[in-house]
Symmetry: C2
Subunit: 167 residues, 2 copies
């Protein structure tokens, strides 16, 4: 029995970020863990860079904006528990950052997916996406080994307008 | 009697941000309150945009990165009290964000000046700079009315290499 309001969160892994697609618009690619569905989200260049630098283990001499945010959370004894890509509305992706404060109270903050993922990779926390978001904006690839080149070709030839976008 | 280690904070106002100087590098301009000294700091385009959008009262449908940071501080009941431009080392400006947590404890966080100012304009908190920083990297203008055009010309023809820079 379908229940439109029921949460159905799918655990995702961050496959990567492409900074320079032909359109010059960067893309985050999330992949369903243990599955064959991908969720591409177009994001801003700055946020893409913030994600790419962290997953490439590039250190900067001074704290970048998302590093500062993580440092602030640490000094306030607040932990990010997980992030969730919750919905798409008017072609915009929405996310929630779930945190725990120093009194072990659970808090949630509305965020763009890009900021949420830039924080998630720094805090090594889990990334989820709502089933309905994946159904609406995901791509299914049956065999990764066979399809990977096809998928790369697709990424090289796709334009932001072809997708739901973040902002 | 000079004391090199003594803090001597000067209250500054944010004169503005120029996004597109000929060099394509944006600049923050701080001005000594009640004085005639200016402190220019070269910053990144993203951070400049974050400051300019706030002081121009431009609202975005989704929270931008520094808006998210302010939202997180609010939900954690943490207040930014003031920010301070504290030093220059190896041509890099350093800043501190001074905060108060929900137990009224004072906390400080190391930050780039650009992030600190992007937060300060959102929290309406005061901006200070160390006297030694202004002495080292400031510009003195005797009469603002007479000098303002000259100063604009200067800004139009100066290059980032001519200044201490943030990163």
């Amino acid at each position: 029995m379908d229940d439109k309001n029921k949460n159905n969160l799918i655990k995702m892994s961050l496959e990567g970020v492409r900074i320079e697609v032909p359109s010059q618009k960067p893309i985050i690619l999330l992949k369903e863990e243990g599955g064959n569905r991908y969720l591409p989200i177009w994001i801003g260049a700055f946020e893409a860079s913030a994600i790419a630098m962290e997953i490439s283990d590039i250190k900067t001499p001074r704290p970048m904006t998302h590093d500062l945010m993580v440092n602030i959370l640490e000094i306030l004894d607040c932990k990010i528990k997980k992030i969730e890509i919750t919905k798409i509305k008017d072609n915009t992706f929405y996310a929630i950052i779930r945190m725990e404060n120093n009194n072990e109270e659970e808090l949630e903050i509305d965020s763009r997916p890009s900021d949420a993922i830039a924080l998630a990779v720094r805090c090594n926390c889990e990334i989820y996406a709502e089933e309905k978001v994946i159904k609406s904006a995901g791509l299914e690839i049956q065999s990764i080994e066979e399809e990977v080149d096809k998928f790369k070709d697709f990424l090289d030839n796709v334009y932001p307008e072809d997708f739901k976008k973040e902002e």
